[in-house]
């Protein structure tokens, strides 16, 4: 039986009737049309589906849309403001943090959370912070550089 959910995504209000079993990632991608977050592993390991729900980075493939009813969601599409990229996005570009780009939106959302909680992380803290995100292309080094660059910029 479908249920109505009301939520705010990237500052806009949405209301939809959804099946309880509809995963948040499918809701965002297929109902709302925000395809930035991706499905990478389906087992809550890879983090490609990471979005922010009420200020917390979560894996949207392991959450039902109905659980997000009433929440504020931010996806990678909602980060750029006033025509300029979020510092984390900009750093991923500057430091070549993306190759195939599939993990990138989830990475960016996780990095945003890492830096919100620890504005100047060490390399080790960055690497541990990325435990829930797999990148198969970059070997992580340029991602680590991007996090450092974003931290420097946001702290400045």
């Amino acid at each position: 039986m479908k249920q109505t959910i009301n939520l705010t995504i990237n500052g806009k209000s949405y209301s939809h009737e959804v099946e309880p079993r509809l995963l948040l990632i499918h809701y965002l991608r297929e109902v709302v049309g925000l395809t930035g977050a991706h499905i990478g592993c389906e087992t809550s390991i890879c983090g490609a589906c990471t979005v922010e729900v009420d200020g917390k980075a979560v894996k949207s493939c392991t959450m039902f849309a109905v659980q997000a009813d009433g929440s504020k969601i931010v996806t990678v599409e909602g980060l750029a403001a006033n025509g300029s990229y979020h510092p984390v996005q900009q750093a991923f570009w500057d430091e070549h943090g993306a190759q195939c780009g599939f993990c990138t939106p989830g990475m960016i959302m996780t990095v945003k959370q890492i830096l919100e909680r620890n504005p100047s992380p060490t390399e080790q803290e960055i690497r541990e912070g990325l435990e829930g995100n797999i990148c198969r292309c970059t070997g992580y080094q340029h991602i680590v550089n991007a996090v450092k660059a974003a931290a420097a910029k946001m702290g400045a």
Binding site: E19, R21, L22, H26, R29, E30, L34, T35, G36, A37, H38, I39, G40, C41, E42, T43, I45, C46, A48, T75, V76, E77, L79, A80, Y85, Q89, Q90, F92, W93, D94, H96, A98, Q99, C100, G101, F102, C103, T104, P105, I108, E123, Q124, I126, R127, E128, L130, E131, N133, I134, C135, R136, C137, T138, G139, Y140, Q141, H142, I143, V144
Partner: protein
Amino acid sequence: MATTTTKTEPLIGKRIKRREDPRLITGTATYVDDIQMPGMHHAAIVRSPHAAAKILGINVKPALDLPGVVAVFTGEDTKDVGPVPCGASLPGLRVPHHYILARDRVYFVGHPVAVVVATDRYIARDAADLVEVDYEPLPAVADPEKALAPGAPAVHPEWPDNVAFTYHQEGGDPDKAFAEADVVVKQRIVSQRLIPSAMETRGVVADWRPGDKALTVYDSTQIPHLLRTLLAGALGIPENRVRVVAPEVGGGFGSKLNVYAEDILMGFVAMRIGKPVKWIESRRENFMCTIHGRGHVDYYEIAAKRDGTVLGMKLKLIQDLGAYHQLLTPAIPTLSVLMMPGLYRFKNIKADIVGVFTNCVPTDAYRGAGRPEATHGVERMMDILAAELNMDPAEIRLRNFPEPEEFPFATATGLTYDSGDYAAPLKKALEIIDYPRLRAEQRLARDAGRLMGIGISTYGEICAFGPSPATPAGGWESATVKIEPSGKVTVMTGASPHGQGEETTFAQIAADELGVSIDDVLVLHGDTSVVQYGIGTFGSRATAVGGTAVYFALQELKEKIKRFGAMLLESDDVSVTNGQCICNRTGNAKTLAEIAGASYRAMKLPPNTQPGLVSTYFWEPPNFAFPFGAHIVVTEVDRETGDITIKRYVAVDDCGRIINPLLVAGQVHGGVVQGIGQALCEQAVYDENGQLITGEFTDYAAPRASRVPWIETDHTVTPSPVNPLGVKGVGEAGTIGASPAVVNSVVDALKPLGVRHIDMPMTPEKIWRIINKGTNA
């Protein structure tokens, strides 16, 4: 009209930020699963839970009865479609008929048995559970050596010995070399099965237009044009009515250099239901049904003189092929044989490959494709020889490299190495890591009871695939460069990138050749109805072959620009520079936009010149290119737990001339980490009944950020003479160099315990057992 411009700085060699990134960092790129179409249906595939079984019956009715389900197809429906193609040919190769859906028998876990088509992804998934398949399980064999043993279950009953092919290659006089050797060392070396696991799984959207009798297929592929040709053949549609689009592709590593049953199946389904259909591979399917890499059991012998000079090498290579041949499956181990001498003067070689069928998913090209296995073998053997002779591993390598003046260097396997100074990266790496100090530190560590190791690998690789006679489907690459009427530059490449950044590197090449701003260049790829026929991105070929095609297309285009420029400037001495055509005598110039405008308006044409500024070039490489390098790894082993920590990783690569150092570094990092993954933690494990027990990322350990070291990169530059850009290739180098460097380091750490070899992956438990028993458990 004369215009003045400031000289543009050359872009080749610069750290240019990627052109493709704005869409990736904003989440607005379009991957296959992002495609929505009116009326689009969804497919789910019913797969075998058995590694070997007879299909006694299939009842599709319960699935068909589910509201929202529009069709269910089985092997009976698709028997005249296909087969899944094998593009490799070897003498006497046994090629099983590879139906796109199983008919009366399944051969591996995940084998597609039926496809359910529904209006909704969720309904399709529900319906897949409702298809009832009656199996009679049969004995299965998942290990290639067990498959060769007498009495093993036959994967294909028609070939009870499970041998798909044997292949023999010899160079020089190996028997004489071994007879004359002072020392012979032997070792069995396993390169385990790996799962490529691109972060984007495969996916297909197929759209059939009955009115046009035309099929459009959006496919996460590395080879859109080859896929189009083979899809057209498999589906019986004229090739010119098939369009393949590779949209944004989320990584491939070779796993998307293929034509899969599902590619053909979705075309079939779209034609049958007359509606677009989407299939997105689940991660489990990706692990079970997309090709795996490696799968070698190698028996090496090398012969040498007491001073460490190598004389000969023998290799018996057992390749686990899996149940079928995918596009290149049987060809991959032949690349291992070509690469087996590594960077050394092995003048006498003998290799025998046995390709073995097992009840597993097929193996095929995975980052390095045959060369990592070979390099791992030779680099391990060089260390084993060094240990046997009590020589330093760096010294034994330096002793056996050909000298720079010996290039082009002919190998005993029939290759001609293009250019090289193999000692240079090793010496540089030794210097960076301060080798003598490091060895001293190691002595102190050992005295203190610590297990510290230093591992070296000096790798070479065959890349820039390749001369067409040596590749199954042509080894050239194509490029079209157009200057639009407004002066903007469009490059269309037949190479189809999936993360490598060719939109940037090819734009750098074009911008430099024409002297225009990189912002005026757009690189297009991946759509067979937009781009001229091409081969694709794999085998570290995109820049060396595809980039060279762009370069030559630009040369032709520049000639044409000059003809128009000469006409407009009324001069017979003009050159193209800084986005202009300039009269070398007067300094008068016309901008590219002015020339392009004139060429398209065509009020007046130079003699024997067509209107417009377009040039297409298909470049056939005369040889492969052969990058090389040296990696040095420092590890420490926790004696109590067997945990391995990589303390330092130095990679000095020589990939010829570098177009974009930022992107080259990215390729090296990524490649190294996949090599570290193989060395330390990645393995596709089938149990003895052929069940894949590493079925998800919860058990298949892809390296995480916290497990990989900082990688210190540096380069030597030995331009390739094979192409005018002087580039060699770097996509696979890291992977090839890494695994032997890491294993050599850990073996070195355990050397005081008498350890001489460890097979991958070097899991903590394996190391702990070795420490406690001094043997390779």
